[in-house]
Protein backbone atom coordinates (compact mmCIF):
# COMPACT_ATOMS: atom_id res chain seq x y z
CA UNK A 1 0.00 0.00 0.00
CA UNK A 2 1.14 3.54 -0.61
CA UNK A 3 0.86 5.85 2.38
CA UNK A 4 1.36 9.60 2.12
CA UNK A 5 2.15 11.52 5.30
CA UNK A 6 1.93 15.31 5.11
CA UNK A 7 3.96 16.78 7.93
CA UNK A 8 4.78 20.14 9.40
CA UNK A 9 7.85 21.55 11.00
CA UNK A 10 6.35 23.60 13.81
CA UNK A 11 7.72 26.67 15.55
CA UNK A 12 8.00 27.17 19.27
CA UNK A 13 8.93 30.63 20.45
CA UNK A 14 11.57 30.93 23.18
CA UNK A 15 11.31 33.31 26.11
CA UNK A 16 12.78 36.22 24.15
CA UNK A 17 10.05 35.99 21.50
CA UNK A 18 9.11 39.42 20.18
CA UNK A 19 6.21 40.36 17.99
CA UNK A 20 7.21 41.97 14.70
CA UNK A 21 4.19 43.27 12.84
CA UNK A 22 1.70 40.42 12.72
CA UNK A 23 4.19 37.62 13.31
CA UNK A 24 6.94 36.55 15.68
CA UNK A 25 10.53 37.55 15.20
CA UNK A 26 12.01 34.57 13.35
CA UNK A 27 15.19 34.50 15.42
CA UNK A 28 13.23 33.57 18.56
CA UNK A 29 11.73 30.46 16.97
CA UNK A 30 12.88 26.92 17.44
CA UNK A 31 11.74 24.44 14.77
CA UNK A 32 10.82 20.83 15.34
CA UNK A 33 8.84 18.12 13.63
CA UNK A 34 5.30 18.70 14.90
CA UNK A 35 4.51 16.40 17.84
CA UNK A 36 1.34 14.97 16.21
CA UNK A 37 3.24 14.19 13.00
CA UNK A 38 5.76 11.98 14.78
CA UNK A 39 2.78 9.72 15.54
CA UNK A 40 1.42 9.78 11.98
CA UNK A 41 4.85 8.93 10.54
CA UNK A 42 5.16 6.04 13.01
CA UNK A 43 1.66 4.80 12.16
CA UNK A 44 2.53 4.82 8.45
CA UNK A 45 5.79 2.95 9.05
CA UNK A 46 4.04 0.28 11.11
CA UNK A 47 1.38 -0.23 8.43
CA UNK A 48 3.93 -0.47 5.63
CA UNK A 49 6.05 -2.89 7.68
CA UNK A 50 3.01 -5.10 8.25
CA UNK A 51 1.46 -4.91 4.78
CA UNK A 52 4.30 -3.88 2.48
CA UNK A 53 4.37 -0.65 0.55
CA UNK A 54 5.85 2.77 0.40
CA UNK A 55 5.74 5.74 2.79
CA UNK A 56 6.01 9.15 1.15
CA UNK A 57 6.39 12.22 3.36
CA UNK A 58 5.53 15.69 2.11
CA UNK A 59 5.94 19.09 3.68
CA UNK A 60 5.41 22.70 2.76
CA UNK A 61 7.24 25.71 4.15
CA UNK A 62 10.56 27.53 4.28
CA UNK A 63 14.10 26.28 4.94
CA UNK A 64 13.02 24.63 8.20
CA UNK A 65 11.14 21.94 6.26
CA UNK A 66 14.20 20.03 5.09
CA UNK A 67 15.23 18.90 8.58
CA UNK A 68 11.74 17.65 9.33
CA UNK A 69 11.64 15.60 6.14
CA UNK A 70 15.11 14.21 6.87
CA UNK A 71 13.93 13.20 10.34
CA UNK A 72 11.00 11.28 8.82
CA UNK A 73 13.30 9.65 6.24
CA UNK A 74 15.69 8.68 9.03
CA UNK A 75 12.79 7.11 10.92
CA UNK A 76 12.19 4.96 7.85
CA UNK A 77 10.04 6.81 5.29
CA UNK A 78 11.01 5.97 1.72
CA UNK A 79 10.73 9.22 -0.17
CA UNK A 80 10.14 12.92 0.45
CA UNK A 81 8.50 15.80 -1.36
CA UNK A 82 9.51 19.28 -0.25
CA UNK A 83 7.36 22.18 -1.40
CA UNK A 84 9.06 25.53 -1.00
CA UNK A 85 7.12 28.65 -0.17
CA UNK A 86 9.20 31.20 -2.03
CA UNK A 87 8.19 34.44 -0.34
CA UNK A 88 9.25 34.27 3.30
CA UNK A 89 6.46 36.64 4.34
CA UNK A 90 3.84 34.16 3.12
CA UNK A 91 2.39 32.12 5.97
CA UNK A 92 -0.18 29.78 4.49
CA UNK A 93 -3.20 28.97 6.62
CA UNK A 94 -4.75 25.54 7.03
CA UNK A 95 -7.03 25.70 3.98
CA UNK A 96 -4.36 27.08 1.66
CA UNK A 97 -1.90 24.48 2.93
CA UNK A 98 -4.44 21.80 2.11
CA UNK A 99 -4.87 23.22 -1.42
CA UNK A 100 -1.14 22.98 -2.06
CA UNK A 101 -0.89 19.49 -0.56
CA UNK A 102 -3.85 18.33 -2.64
CA UNK A 103 -2.07 19.36 -5.86
CA UNK A 104 1.18 17.82 -4.73
CA UNK A 105 -0.20 14.43 -3.73
CA UNK A 106 -3.14 13.79 -6.06
CA UNK A 107 -0.89 12.11 -8.65
CA UNK A 108 0.48 9.79 -5.94
CA UNK A 109 -2.90 7.99 -5.79
CA UNK A 110 -2.19 6.98 -2.20
CA UNK A 111 -4.16 4.24 -0.50
CA UNK A 112 -3.95 6.11 2.74
CA UNK A 113 -3.08 9.64 3.78
CA UNK A 114 -2.20 10.14 7.44
CA UNK A 115 -2.10 13.67 8.85
CA UNK A 116 -1.54 14.75 12.45
CA UNK A 117 -4.68 15.99 14.25
CA UNK A 118 -3.15 19.45 14.52
CA UNK A 119 0.09 21.37 14.73
CA UNK A 120 1.40 22.69 18.02
CA UNK A 121 1.97 26.21 16.66
CA UNK A 122 -1.03 26.94 14.43
CA UNK A 123 -3.47 24.64 16.29
CA UNK A 124 -6.03 24.86 13.47
CA UNK A 125 -6.63 21.11 13.24
CA UNK A 126 -7.93 21.87 9.74
CA UNK A 127 -5.40 20.67 7.16
CA UNK A 128 -6.25 16.96 7.13
CA UNK A 129 -10.00 17.39 6.90
CA UNK A 130 -9.71 20.07 4.21
CA UNK A 131 -7.24 17.92 2.25
CA UNK A 132 -9.61 14.93 2.35
CA UNK A 133 -12.44 17.09 1.04
CA UNK A 134 -10.32 18.54 -1.78
CA UNK A 135 -9.22 15.03 -2.83
CA UNK A 136 -12.75 13.67 -2.30
CA UNK A 137 -11.46 11.02 0.12
CA UNK A 138 -13.46 9.58 3.02
CA UNK A 139 -11.93 10.63 6.32
CA UNK A 140 -11.95 10.15 10.05
CA UNK A 141 -10.54 12.85 12.32
CA UNK A 142 -8.80 12.15 15.66
CA UNK A 143 -7.92 8.48 15.30
CA UNK A 144 -6.08 6.59 18.05
CA UNK A 145 -6.19 3.03 16.70
CA UNK A 146 -5.95 1.56 13.18
CA UNK A 147 -6.55 -1.98 11.93
CA UNK A 148 -6.07 -2.57 8.23
CA UNK A 149 -6.61 -5.52 5.98
CA UNK A 150 -7.27 -5.74 2.25
CA UNK A 151 -8.48 -2.23 1.70
CA UNK A 152 -10.65 -2.26 4.83
CA UNK A 153 -9.93 0.07 7.72
CA UNK A 154 -11.30 -0.37 11.24
CA UNK A 155 -10.35 2.65 13.29
CA UNK A 156 -11.18 4.22 16.62
CA UNK A 157 -12.06 7.87 16.89
CA UNK A 158 -11.22 9.42 20.26
CA UNK A 159 -14.10 11.52 21.55
CA UNK A 160 -14.42 13.87 24.50
CA UNK A 161 -14.07 12.24 27.89
CA UNK A 162 -12.08 9.35 26.41
CA UNK A 163 -15.12 7.70 24.81
CA UNK A 164 -14.06 5.79 21.70
CA UNK A 165 -16.07 5.30 18.54
CA UNK A 166 -15.36 2.32 16.30
CA UNK A 167 -15.66 3.09 12.63
CA UNK A 168 -15.07 1.13 9.46
CA UNK A 169 -14.31 2.56 6.04
CA UNK A 170 -12.50 1.55 2.88
CA UNK A 171 -9.32 2.87 1.33
CA UNK A 172 -8.37 5.15 -0.27
CA UNK A 173 -9.00 7.29 2.80
CA UNK A 174 -7.49 9.98 5.01
CA UNK A 175 -7.12 9.77 8.78
CA UNK A 176 -5.94 12.42 11.22
CA UNK A 177 -3.80 10.83 13.90
CA UNK A 178 -3.93 11.57 17.62
CA UNK A 179 -0.94 11.43 19.97
CA UNK A 180 -0.56 8.21 21.96
CA UNK A 181 -1.64 5.94 19.08
CA UNK A 182 1.85 4.42 19.13
CA UNK A 183 5.34 5.06 20.42
CA UNK A 184 7.17 7.04 17.73
CA UNK A 185 10.62 5.58 17.08
CA UNK A 186 13.79 7.59 17.27
CA UNK A 187 15.94 7.61 14.18
CA UNK A 188 19.05 5.51 14.77
CA UNK A 189 22.46 6.28 13.33
CA UNK A 190 21.97 3.94 10.38
CA UNK A 191 18.62 5.58 9.62
CA UNK A 192 20.18 9.01 9.75
CA UNK A 193 22.95 7.98 7.36
CA UNK A 194 20.46 6.34 4.97
CA UNK A 195 18.16 9.37 4.98
CA UNK A 196 20.42 11.64 2.97
CA UNK A 197 20.54 9.23 0.04
CA UNK A 198 16.79 8.61 -0.15
CA UNK A 199 14.88 10.26 -3.04
CA UNK A 200 13.83 13.83 -2.36
CA UNK A 201 11.87 15.94 -4.78
CA UNK A 202 11.73 19.72 -4.47
CA UNK A 203 8.77 21.66 -5.81
CA UNK A 204 7.45 25.17 -5.68
CA UNK A 205 3.82 26.26 -5.41
CA UNK A 206 4.13 27.89 -8.84
CA UNK A 207 5.36 24.60 -10.35
CA UNK A 208 2.26 22.90 -9.00
CA UNK A 209 0.24 25.34 -11.08
CA UNK A 210 -1.00 27.39 -8.14
CA UNK A 211 -0.65 31.09 -7.40
CA UNK A 212 1.34 31.60 -4.22
CA UNK A 213 0.18 35.21 -3.73
CA UNK A 214 -3.48 34.21 -3.99
CA UNK A 215 -2.98 31.33 -1.57
CA UNK A 216 -1.24 33.63 0.90
CA UNK A 217 -4.46 35.68 1.07
CA UNK A 218 -6.05 32.42 2.17
CA UNK A 219 -9.15 31.90 4.25
CA UNK A 220 -8.43 34.69 6.73
CA UNK A 221 -6.31 37.83 7.07
CA UNK A 222 -4.16 38.32 10.13
CA UNK A 223 -4.87 41.76 11.56
CA UNK A 224 -2.74 41.52 14.66
CA UNK A 225 -0.68 39.28 16.86
CA UNK A 226 -0.52 40.27 20.51
CA UNK A 227 0.14 38.96 23.96
CA UNK A 228 -3.07 37.72 25.55
CA UNK A 229 -4.65 40.24 27.92
CA UNK A 230 -3.25 39.84 31.42
CA UNK A 231 -5.94 38.17 33.46
CA UNK A 232 -6.12 38.55 37.21
CA UNK A 233 -4.02 35.45 37.17
CA UNK A 234 -2.15 33.79 39.94
CA UNK A 235 -0.59 35.26 43.05
CA UNK A 236 3.07 34.41 42.58
CA UNK A 237 4.66 32.84 45.63
CA UNK A 238 8.07 34.40 46.22
CA UNK A 239 11.21 33.04 47.82
CA UNK A 240 13.18 29.84 47.36
CA UNK A 241 11.73 26.36 46.97
CA UNK A 242 11.47 25.96 50.77
CA UNK A 243 9.47 29.18 51.11
CA UNK A 244 7.24 28.21 48.21
CA UNK A 245 6.66 24.72 49.62
CA UNK A 246 5.82 26.16 53.03
CA UNK A 247 3.20 28.46 51.50
CA UNK A 248 1.78 25.63 49.38
CA UNK A 249 1.59 23.39 52.46
CA UNK A 250 -0.28 26.15 54.27
CA UNK A 251 -2.75 26.62 51.42
CA UNK A 252 -3.34 22.87 51.17
CA UNK A 253 -3.96 22.54 54.89
CA UNK A 254 -6.39 25.44 54.96
CA UNK A 255 -8.35 24.35 51.89
CA UNK A 256 -8.43 20.59 52.23
CA UNK A 257 -8.44 20.39 56.00
CA UNK A 258 -7.69 17.05 57.52
Amino acid sequence: MKIVVPLKVAASPDESAKIEGNALDESSLEWNLNEWDTFSVEAALQLSEAHGGEVVVVSLGGDEVEDGLLTALAMGADRAIQINVEDETHKLDAISTARVLAKAVESESADLILCGVMSSDGVSAGVGTALAALLDLPRVAVVNHIDYSDGQLSVRRELEGGLLEEISLVTPALLTIQTGINEPRYANLRGIRAASSKPREELTIERLGLDEDALADGSATVQALALPPVSEGAEILEGDAQDVAARIAQIIKSKVGS
Binding site: P138, G162, L164, A220, Q223, A234, V244
Partner: protein, 318 residues
Protein backbone atom coordinates in the same frame (compact mmCIF):
# COMPACT_ATOMS: atom_id res chain seq x y z
CA UNK B 1 -24.99 37.36 2.90
CA UNK B 2 -26.48 37.67 6.29
CA UNK B 3 -27.42 35.65 9.29
CA UNK B 4 -25.66 33.21 11.54
CA UNK B 5 -26.02 29.47 11.06
CA UNK B 6 -25.31 27.44 14.21
CA UNK B 7 -24.53 23.74 13.83
CA UNK B 8 -25.83 21.91 16.90
CA UNK B 9 -23.98 18.89 18.22
CA UNK B 10 -25.66 15.77 19.59
CA UNK B 11 -24.20 12.48 20.79
CA UNK B 12 -25.87 9.35 22.06
CA UNK B 13 -29.29 10.97 21.94
CA UNK B 14 -28.46 14.17 23.81
CA UNK B 15 -27.39 17.65 22.79
CA UNK B 16 -23.90 18.59 23.89
CA UNK B 17 -23.34 21.82 25.89
CA UNK B 18 -21.45 23.38 23.00
CA UNK B 19 -24.73 23.70 21.08
CA UNK B 20 -26.06 26.20 23.62
CA UNK B 21 -22.69 27.95 23.93
CA UNK B 22 -22.78 28.48 20.16
CA UNK B 23 -26.24 30.06 20.44
CA UNK B 24 -24.77 32.52 22.97
CA UNK B 25 -21.88 33.24 20.59
CA UNK B 26 -24.37 33.81 17.75
CA UNK B 27 -26.36 36.23 19.94
CA UNK B 28 -23.18 38.22 20.56
CA UNK B 29 -22.93 38.87 16.82
CA UNK B 30 -26.65 39.31 16.27
CA UNK B 31 -25.88 42.38 14.17
CA UNK B 32 -24.85 39.86 11.51
CA UNK B 33 -28.50 38.85 11.13
CA UNK B 34 -30.96 36.30 12.35
CA UNK B 35 -29.92 33.04 13.98
CA UNK B 36 -30.71 29.69 12.39
CA UNK B 37 -29.84 26.51 14.26
CA UNK B 38 -29.33 23.30 12.29
CA UNK B 39 -29.75 19.90 13.88
CA UNK B 40 -28.47 16.97 11.91
CA UNK B 41 -31.05 14.42 13.00
CA UNK B 42 -34.78 14.74 13.38
CA UNK B 43 -35.50 14.17 17.09
CA UNK B 44 -38.32 16.64 17.88
CA UNK B 45 -37.29 16.73 21.55
CA UNK B 46 -33.80 17.96 20.68
CA UNK B 47 -35.22 20.45 18.17
CA UNK B 48 -37.48 21.86 20.92
CA UNK B 49 -34.48 22.39 23.21
CA UNK B 50 -32.65 24.23 20.45
CA UNK B 51 -35.61 26.58 20.15
CA UNK B 52 -33.90 28.90 22.62
CA UNK B 53 -33.95 32.64 23.22
CA UNK B 54 -32.68 34.56 20.21
CA UNK B 55 -33.11 31.76 17.68
CA UNK B 56 -35.28 32.56 14.63
CA UNK B 57 -35.37 29.19 13.00
CA UNK B 58 -34.48 25.59 13.83
CA UNK B 59 -33.93 23.34 10.83
CA UNK B 60 -33.85 19.59 11.35
CA UNK B 61 -32.12 17.51 8.74
CA UNK B 62 -32.94 13.85 8.57
CA UNK B 63 -29.77 11.81 8.35
CA UNK B 64 -29.54 8.38 6.72
CA UNK B 65 -27.58 7.16 9.78
CA UNK B 66 -28.16 7.26 13.55
CA UNK B 67 -24.71 8.47 14.52
CA UNK B 68 -22.50 11.38 13.66
CA UNK B 69 -21.00 10.84 10.23
CA UNK B 70 -18.61 13.57 9.01
CA UNK B 71 -19.53 13.32 5.33
CA UNK B 72 -23.24 13.58 6.10
CA UNK B 73 -22.54 16.64 8.25
CA UNK B 74 -20.39 18.21 5.53
CA UNK B 75 -23.11 17.59 2.93
CA UNK B 76 -25.84 18.98 5.19
CA UNK B 77 -23.90 22.09 6.17
CA UNK B 78 -22.71 22.66 2.61
CA UNK B 79 -26.28 22.60 1.36
CA UNK B 80 -27.47 24.96 4.08
CA UNK B 81 -24.70 27.38 3.12
CA UNK B 82 -25.98 27.32 -0.48
CA UNK B 83 -29.56 27.72 0.61
CA UNK B 84 -29.24 30.37 3.32
CA UNK B 85 -26.02 32.17 2.35
CA UNK B 86 -25.18 32.84 6.00
CA UNK B 87 -22.49 35.40 6.77
CA UNK B 88 -21.20 33.17 9.56
CA UNK B 89 -21.41 29.44 10.27
CA UNK B 90 -20.66 28.54 13.90
CA UNK B 91 -19.73 25.03 15.00
CA UNK B 92 -17.79 23.79 18.01
CA UNK B 93 -14.05 23.25 18.05
CA UNK B 94 -14.95 19.71 19.03
CA UNK B 95 -13.94 16.28 17.83
CA UNK B 96 -17.07 15.98 15.65
CA UNK B 97 -16.61 19.36 13.98
CA UNK B 98 -12.93 18.64 13.31
CA UNK B 99 -14.30 16.02 10.92
CA UNK B 100 -16.27 18.42 8.71
CA UNK B 101 -15.69 22.15 9.48
CA UNK B 102 -12.54 22.62 7.41
CA UNK B 103 -14.01 20.42 4.66
CA UNK B 104 -16.97 22.76 4.21
CA UNK B 105 -14.68 25.80 4.26
CA UNK B 106 -12.35 24.29 1.64
CA UNK B 107 -15.12 23.21 -0.72
CA UNK B 108 -17.11 26.44 -0.43
CA UNK B 109 -13.99 28.65 -0.52
CA UNK B 110 -15.25 30.19 2.69
CA UNK B 111 -13.31 32.01 5.36
CA UNK B 112 -12.14 29.73 8.14
CA UNK B 113 -10.86 29.97 11.69
CA UNK B 114 -10.87 27.32 14.41
CA UNK B 115 -10.41 27.27 18.18
CA UNK B 116 -11.87 30.78 18.25
CA UNK B 117 -12.25 32.47 21.65
CA UNK B 118 -13.91 35.76 20.73
CA UNK B 119 -16.10 37.10 17.96
CA UNK B 120 -17.24 40.59 17.02
CA UNK B 121 -19.41 41.93 14.23
CA UNK B 122 -18.97 45.44 12.92
CA UNK B 123 -20.28 45.18 9.37
CA UNK B 124 -17.87 42.26 9.03
CA UNK B 125 -16.57 39.53 11.29
CA UNK B 126 -13.46 39.80 13.46
CA UNK B 127 -12.33 36.87 15.60
CA UNK B 128 -9.52 36.04 17.99
CA UNK B 129 -7.72 32.77 18.61
CA UNK B 130 -4.67 31.60 20.55
CA UNK B 131 -1.41 30.59 18.91
CA UNK B 132 1.67 28.78 20.21
CA UNK B 133 -0.12 27.14 23.10
CA UNK B 134 -2.15 30.28 23.88
CA UNK B 135 0.97 32.34 24.54
CA UNK B 136 -0.09 34.74 21.78
CA UNK B 137 -3.42 35.94 20.52
CA UNK B 138 -4.19 36.37 16.83
CA UNK B 139 -6.87 38.68 15.44
CA UNK B 140 -8.36 37.64 12.10
CA UNK B 141 -10.70 39.20 9.54
CA UNK B 142 -12.14 37.67 6.36
CA UNK B 143 -12.20 40.27 3.59
CA UNK B 144 -13.95 39.15 0.43
CA UNK B 145 -15.43 35.99 1.97
CA UNK B 146 -19.21 35.67 1.58
CA UNK B 147 -19.39 33.03 4.29
CA UNK B 148 -17.01 32.35 7.16
CA UNK B 149 -16.86 29.00 8.98
CA UNK B 150 -15.86 29.42 12.63
CA UNK B 151 -15.14 26.64 15.11
CA UNK B 152 -15.63 28.02 18.63
CA UNK B 153 -13.61 26.79 21.61
CA UNK B 154 -15.85 24.88 24.06
CA UNK B 155 -16.36 26.53 27.42
CA UNK B 156 -15.68 30.03 26.08
CA UNK B 157 -19.26 31.24 26.07
CA UNK B 158 -21.89 30.60 28.71
CA UNK B 159 -24.74 28.35 27.56
CA UNK B 160 -28.10 29.86 26.54
CA UNK B 161 -30.86 27.97 28.39
CA UNK B 162 -32.59 25.34 26.29
CA UNK B 163 -36.15 25.95 25.06
CA UNK B 164 -38.22 29.09 25.77
CA UNK B 165 -37.69 30.40 22.26
CA UNK B 166 -40.08 31.50 19.58
CA UNK B 167 -38.35 29.99 16.58
CA UNK B 168 -39.98 28.47 13.57
CA UNK B 169 -39.04 24.76 13.68
CA UNK B 170 -39.02 23.08 10.27
CA UNK B 171 -37.46 20.14 8.49
CA UNK B 172 -34.83 20.82 5.85
CA UNK B 173 -34.12 18.60 2.88
CA UNK B 174 -32.87 15.12 3.86
CA UNK B 175 -29.28 14.07 3.27
CA UNK B 176 -29.13 11.23 0.80
CA UNK B 177 -27.67 7.83 1.81
CA UNK B 178 -25.03 8.23 -0.89
CA UNK B 179 -23.33 10.85 1.30
CA UNK B 180 -22.38 8.20 3.89
CA UNK B 181 -18.75 7.12 3.55
CA UNK B 182 -17.94 5.52 6.90
CA UNK B 183 -19.80 3.15 9.18
CA UNK B 184 -20.24 3.41 12.95
CA UNK B 185 -19.79 -0.04 14.50
CA UNK B 186 -19.92 0.77 18.20
CA UNK B 187 -18.76 2.78 21.17
CA UNK B 188 -16.15 1.77 23.71
CA UNK B 189 -16.32 3.33 27.15
CA UNK B 190 -13.07 4.67 28.60
CA UNK B 191 -11.14 2.30 30.86
CA UNK B 192 -12.17 2.30 34.49
CA UNK B 193 -9.08 2.69 36.63
CA UNK B 194 -8.13 1.78 40.16
CA UNK B 195 -9.11 5.25 41.38
CA UNK B 196 -11.94 7.62 40.61
CA UNK B 197 -10.09 10.91 40.34
CA UNK B 198 -13.35 12.83 40.03
CA UNK B 199 -14.14 12.03 43.68
CA UNK B 200 -10.87 13.23 45.23
CA UNK B 201 -10.66 16.53 47.17
CA UNK B 202 -7.01 17.06 46.45
CA UNK B 203 -5.19 16.24 43.20
CA UNK B 204 -1.48 16.40 42.49
CA UNK B 205 -1.07 16.78 38.72
CA UNK B 206 2.19 15.98 36.96
CA UNK B 207 2.94 17.26 33.46
CA UNK B 208 5.58 16.71 30.82
CA UNK B 209 7.76 19.17 32.72
CA UNK B 210 8.45 16.44 35.28
CA UNK B 211 10.72 14.92 32.63
CA UNK B 212 9.63 11.35 33.37
CA UNK B 213 11.01 8.82 30.92
CA UNK B 214 9.93 5.60 32.54
CA UNK B 215 7.57 4.52 35.27
CA UNK B 216 10.24 4.54 37.96
CA UNK B 217 10.68 8.29 37.39
CA UNK B 218 7.14 8.70 38.66
CA UNK B 219 7.66 6.90 41.96
CA UNK B 220 8.75 10.05 43.78
CA UNK B 221 5.52 11.75 42.70
CA UNK B 222 3.32 8.87 43.86
CA UNK B 223 5.22 9.02 47.17
CA UNK B 224 4.75 12.78 47.36
CA UNK B 225 1.05 12.40 46.63
CA UNK B 226 0.70 9.89 49.43
CA UNK B 227 2.65 12.05 51.85
CA UNK B 228 0.55 15.15 51.24
CA UNK B 229 -2.74 13.26 51.00
CA UNK B 230 -3.36 13.83 47.30
CA UNK B 231 -4.34 11.58 44.40
CA UNK B 232 -1.89 11.61 41.50
CA UNK B 233 -3.21 12.66 38.10
CA UNK B 234 -1.47 13.82 34.94
CA UNK B 235 -1.68 15.67 31.66
CA UNK B 236 -1.94 13.74 28.44
CA UNK B 237 1.68 13.26 27.34
CA UNK B 238 2.44 10.98 30.31
CA UNK B 239 -0.60 8.87 29.48
CA UNK B 240 0.34 8.77 25.78
CA UNK B 241 3.79 7.52 26.81
CA UNK B 242 2.18 4.74 28.82
CA UNK B 243 3.59 6.03 32.13
CA UNK B 244 0.29 6.91 33.80
CA UNK B 245 -2.98 4.97 33.39
CA UNK B 246 -5.57 6.77 31.26
CA UNK B 247 -8.08 6.80 34.13
CA UNK B 248 -5.80 9.39 35.77
CA UNK B 249 -5.73 11.77 32.79
CA UNK B 250 -7.30 15.17 33.29
CA UNK B 251 -8.66 17.12 30.33
CA UNK B 252 -10.81 17.12 27.25
CA UNK B 253 -10.10 13.51 26.35
CA UNK B 254 -9.70 12.46 29.98
CA UNK B 255 -11.66 13.28 33.11
CA UNK B 256 -13.20 16.56 34.20
CA UNK B 257 -12.43 17.23 37.86
CA UNK B 258 -13.36 19.88 40.40
CA UNK B 259 -11.36 19.15 43.56
CA UNK B 260 -10.83 21.56 46.45
CA UNK B 261 -7.15 21.83 45.54
CA UNK B 262 -5.38 21.11 42.24
CA UNK B 263 -1.60 21.31 42.50
CA UNK B 264 -0.04 21.20 39.03
CA UNK B 265 3.68 20.58 38.58
CA UNK B 266 5.13 21.11 35.09
CA UNK B 267 1.81 21.45 33.28
CA UNK B 268 1.74 24.21 30.62
CA UNK B 269 -2.01 24.72 30.69
CA UNK B 270 -3.08 23.79 27.16
CA UNK B 271 -6.77 24.44 26.66
CA UNK B 272 -7.47 20.71 26.43
CA UNK B 273 -6.02 20.34 29.92
CA UNK B 274 -7.63 23.47 31.42
CA UNK B 275 -11.08 22.41 30.27
CA UNK B 276 -10.81 19.45 32.65
CA UNK B 277 -9.66 21.26 35.81
CA UNK B 278 -10.50 24.93 35.72
CA UNK B 279 -13.47 24.40 38.06
CA UNK B 280 -11.18 23.39 40.93
CA UNK B 281 -11.67 25.66 43.98
CA UNK B 282 -7.98 26.41 44.35
CA UNK B 283 -5.39 25.86 41.64
CA UNK B 284 -1.68 26.05 42.43
CA UNK B 285 0.76 25.88 39.51
CA UNK B 286 4.51 25.36 39.58
CA UNK B 287 6.12 26.06 36.22
CA UNK B 288 9.49 27.57 35.31
CA UNK B 289 8.00 29.39 32.32
CA UNK B 290 6.34 32.60 33.59
CA UNK B 291 4.36 32.87 30.35
CA UNK B 292 2.78 29.40 30.68
CA UNK B 293 -1.00 29.79 30.26
CA UNK B 294 -1.63 27.69 33.40
CA UNK B 295 -0.89 30.86 35.42
CA UNK B 296 -3.95 32.48 33.86
CA UNK B 297 -6.14 29.78 35.42
CA UNK B 298 -4.25 29.35 38.70
CA UNK B 299 -4.89 31.15 41.98
CA UNK B 300 -1.34 30.67 43.23
CA UNK B 301 1.77 30.15 41.17
CA UNK B 302 5.49 29.63 41.47
CA UNK B 303 8.23 29.90 38.86
CA UNK B 304 10.51 27.60 40.85
CA UNK B 305 11.82 24.29 39.54
CA UNK B 306 9.24 21.62 40.23
CA UNK B 307 11.66 19.03 41.56
CA UNK B 308 12.95 21.47 44.19
CA UNK B 309 9.40 22.31 45.21
CA UNK B 310 8.47 18.61 45.28
CA UNK B 311 11.41 17.82 47.58
CA UNK B 312 10.69 20.74 49.88
CA UNK B 313 7.02 19.85 50.00
CA UNK B 314 7.86 16.31 51.05
CA UNK B 315 9.88 17.76 53.93
CA UNK B 316 7.11 20.18 54.83
CA UNK B 317 4.72 17.24 55.34
CA UNK B 318 7.09 14.96 57.22
Amino acid sequence: MSGVLVIAEARQGALRDISFELITAAREISAAGSITVALIGSDPGLAAQLNATGVSEVITIASPVDHFEPHVSAAAVGRLVDELSPAVVLAGHTIDSLGFGAAVAAVKDAGFASDVTSLAWDGALTVQRGLYGDKFLQTLTFPGKETVVILVRPGTFGATSPGNGSANVRPGADVDASAVRSRHTGYREPEVGDVDITKADFLLAIGRGAGAEDESDLEPYYELAERIGATLVSSRPLVDAGLVPSARQVGQSGKTVAPKVYLALGVSGAVQHLIGMRKADTIIAVNTDPSAPIFGAAHYGSHADLSDVADALKDAFS
